[in-house]
């Protein structure tokens, strides 16, 4: 993952603070960002999928975990933390916008 | 009758995976010595895949589209595990065991048919 590649670490050189920060950043981004994207996608698809309300909720909820796994893998595969963050934001923003359009935030 | 169908599934999967393993040089060397003869690779692979497919067909025919595939996937794991164990501990037994598994698997077919006739 992060550029000071895995070999550098496993070979008993002490990880640098920068490396540690990069790992922590990705872990947080994967956990929080991954969950946020999955949650937004679930909320949106539950509203907009063209099927009975209960079926749309079930479909969206069952698929949510695949969404989150995909985001987590993508975050760790991205070339830099900035790219990973851009990816998460790029997914979350349109989903949140869609939810807003669908009136989910109207209360 | 389900246990009989499981026997059929596992024996066919075992024979199929054994054929697939024997089509690879490394395992052929362990089980039979030497590389796989040139003309053997394709027939072994074809037989292997055909046996796995046959096992699925049997599972679906007698257990239905619901249980059949589930049971077949379990049998895939069981059959492959047996191949790994034989290859690790008694590699020379792989071919005889596969040749024994085939008639054993086919032998339960009449029993299954009989059980379903009742």
């Amino acid at each position: 993952m992060p550029r000071p590649g895995p070999r550098a670490v496993s070979a008993r050189t002490a990880p640098t603070p920068a490396y540690r920060a990069a790992v922590l950043g990705r872990v947080l981004l994967a956990a929080l960002g991954g969950y946020a994207v999955a949650a937004l996608a679930t909320g949106l698809f539950a509203l907009v999928l063209p099927m009975p309300r209960s079926e749309a909720v079930t479909t969206a909820t069952l698929l949510s975990f695949a969404v989150m796994v995909a985001v987590v893998v993508a975050v760790f595969a991205a070339r830099s933390l900035a790219r990973a963050a851009a990816l998460v934001l790029g997914l979350a923003a349109p989903l949140a916008g869609g939810l807003w359009l669908a009136g989910a935030f109207a209360g | 009758m389900t246990p009989l169908v499981v026997v059929l599934n596992v024996t066919l999967c075992f024979a199929g995976f054994a054929a697939l393993a024997l089509s690879l040089d490394r395992h052929h060397r362990e089980a039979l010595a030497g590389r796989v003869p040139a003309g053997r690779v394709l027939p072994l692979r074809a037989a292997g895949w055909a046996l796995l497919a046959l096992s699925l067909a049997g599972a679906v025919a007698w257990e239905g589209l619901n249980f059949g595939p589930v049971q077949w996937i379990g049998a895939l794991t069981g059959g492959a595990l047996l191949v790994v164990l034989v290859l690790s501990y008694r590699p020379a037994w792989l071919r005889p065991a596969a040749l024994l598994a085939l008639p054993l698997g086919l032998a339960v077919v009449p029993a299954i048919l009989l059980a379903f006739a009742h």
Binding site: M1, M51, P52, V73 | A21
Partner: protein
């Protein structure tokens, strides 16, 4: 670039697997045991023997007991006796936040049974997804670990892309320990891969509305009950009216449920039993098939009139119930169940070999001392991989060795489970070194081997049904015991001089490579 991606995935696989490995091992082991939950419970309550019980009378006896415990409950649940569980088990609660009280009643008298007090297989089942923690916290921890497991599986597939070529390769004679552990990890992981992916994903979807409530939140404004009713998962119920009422006898309701549902219901839930709006829901066993979908009929608790049933489920909800069914494996007969258990054990083995592999791959070369992190991983590995199975064996032994009439007996059994686990883990911390594995695994083997004789000597021979009543359970204990003894011997061989003699069956090619 491809190389970069594979590197990233290898890193992700190793570290994500390590972080959740110990929890996942415990989840896999107790989950696998849960495939035999009913059988374990039966073994742990040998006093209960199958008797013919009238379901209607059993329901009324249960209700009579519950009325004495909590007439103004929010809910009661009465599970009717079955041949596997020949007792009435009842639960009652004031609110959905709990606490949920439970008791086991004799179907002949309606009084608490004289069977030994134990949590039986239910303890292992609950541990599987709650880890003996406060339920919500435990479920979130297990869910997070399960999601990381899915990530580890995906990244593992990418990392070991050669696994499909190396499908059958298990170089048990491999000279390098790392090679051998890697092969074992691959074989257990790849052969069980369909099961591992299925069990992880369906485990998440089983508690989907807890982990991912946002669809219910947006589409139903968070009204989960409404969602369950519309999806066909439960019948429509009524709110309490706040006026006291009299609950009708349950016998006729059971009879009506049997007439309408075609079979004896599994149990009855009674909502607001002391209210005029009381409702009784008869819940049936799931029909033959993969789907985990129980038919339900709701009755008016005052008049016994039918209020409604849960509707048919649509394709998506049907998929969800099939996923739940696959995870629980209620559909499996004895042979298929055995295959499921083997797959579960392979899952546990995948996690265990992966954990050991992590430590072996990072062992310092030569005389360099191991760092604190590595020592910690090693201690946790041994403490979990040997400690948890030892705890389960101790749980079984305590069930037979503790006096039957002991008060708080069930908690002492659970105490034995955790006590022995902690002892083994402490041993792993205090006595690190290659011998520790041999000794700990040998101890686990001895504990399992001790279960059948201890059961026989503590009244097992004179129990109804005789010495062979629990033959299957005894055989499992022997198999597990021998398995752990075998593993201990393997560990001893590793701890001693490294294998120098050429191993039988090793080919020239392998000898060259080794």
């Amino acid at each position: 670039m491809r190389q970069g991606f594979r590197h990233a995935m290898a890193w992700l696989h190793a570290w994500s697997g390590l972080v959740v490995g110990w929890v996942l091992f415990a989840v896999f082991v107790t989950g696998t045991a849960s495939f035999y939950r009913a059988g374990i419970t039966q073994w742990m309550r040998p006093e209960l023997v199958a008797i013919e019980a009238d379901p209607g009378r059993a329901a009324d006896l249960g209700a009579a007991y519950l009325r004495r415990q909590m007439p103004d409950a929010m809910g009661w649940f009465i599970a009717l006796p079955t041949p596997e569980k020949p007792a009435i088990s009842v639960m009652w609660w004031k609110s959905m936040e709990g606490p949920f009280h439970e008791a086991l009643l004799d179907p002949a008298t309606g009084e608490p049974t004289r069977a030994r007090e134990t949590r039986g297989g239910d303890f292992l089942y609950r541990f599987h997804y709650e880890l003996s923690m406060p339920p919500t916290l435990g479920r979130w921890i297990v869910g997070a670990c399960t999601l990381v497991m899915l990530v580890a599986l995906i990244s593992g597939i990418v990392t070991h892309r050669r696994i499909f070529a190396d499908f059958f390769t298990f170089r048990r004679g491999a000279k390098s320990a790392q090679r051998g552990w890697l092969d074992a990890h691959n074989v257990a992981g790849v052969l069980g891969l369909p099961f591992h992916l299925m069990i992880a994903y369906t485990g998440l979807t089983l508690l989907a509305t807890l982990y991912m409530p946002w669809g219910v939140r947006t589409a139903y404004k968070g009204d989960e009950i409404r969602y369950f009713v519309e999806a066909g998962l439960m019948p429509e119920l009524r709110w309490t009216a706040g006026r006291p009422g009299t609950l009708a006898p349950l016998g006729p309701i059971v009879a009506a449920a049997m007439a309408r549902g075609g079979e004896v219901p599994e149990g009855l839930s009674v909502w607001n039993p002391g209210d005029v709006n009381a409702a009784v829901v008869a819940i049936f066993e799931e029909p033959h098939g993969l789907s985990h979908h129980h038919a339900q009929i709701a009755f008016d608790g005052q008049t016994g009139a039918v209020l409604g049933t849960n509707g048919a489920v649509g394709p998506a909800t049907g998929t969800g119930t099939v996923m739940a069914g696959l995870h629980m494996g209620h559909f499996a007969g004895p042979v298929l169940r055995l295959l499921l258990v083997l797959c579960g054990l392979m899952g546990a083995a995948t996690v265990a070999t992966g954990l050991v592999l992590w430590a072996v791959a990072r062992a310092p070369k030569g005389a360099a001392p191991a760092g604190f992190g590595l020592l910690l991983v090693r201690a946790l590995n041994l403490g979990t991989i040997a400690g948890l199975p030892a705890g389960i064996a101790a749980y079984f032994l305590a069930n037979r060795l503790l006096p039957v009439g002991l008060s708080e007996r069930a908690s002492f059994e659970v105490g034995a489970f955790f006590g022995v686990w902690v002892l083994v883990a402490l041993y792993a911390v205090l006595r690190p070194g290659p011998r520790a594995w041999t000794q700990a695994l040998g101890l686990v083997g001895a504990l399992y081997l001790a279960v059948p004789p201890v059961a026989a000597l503590t009244g097992g021979l004179s129990q109804p049904g005789g010495a062979l009543r629990f033959l299957g359970f005894d055989l499992w204990m022997l198999a597990l015991g021998l398995g752990f003894v075998f593993a201990a011997r393997k560990a001893a061989a590793r701890a001693g001089a490294p294998l120098r003699r050429p191993v039988r069956g090793m080919t020239g090619e392998e000898a060259l490579r080794a």
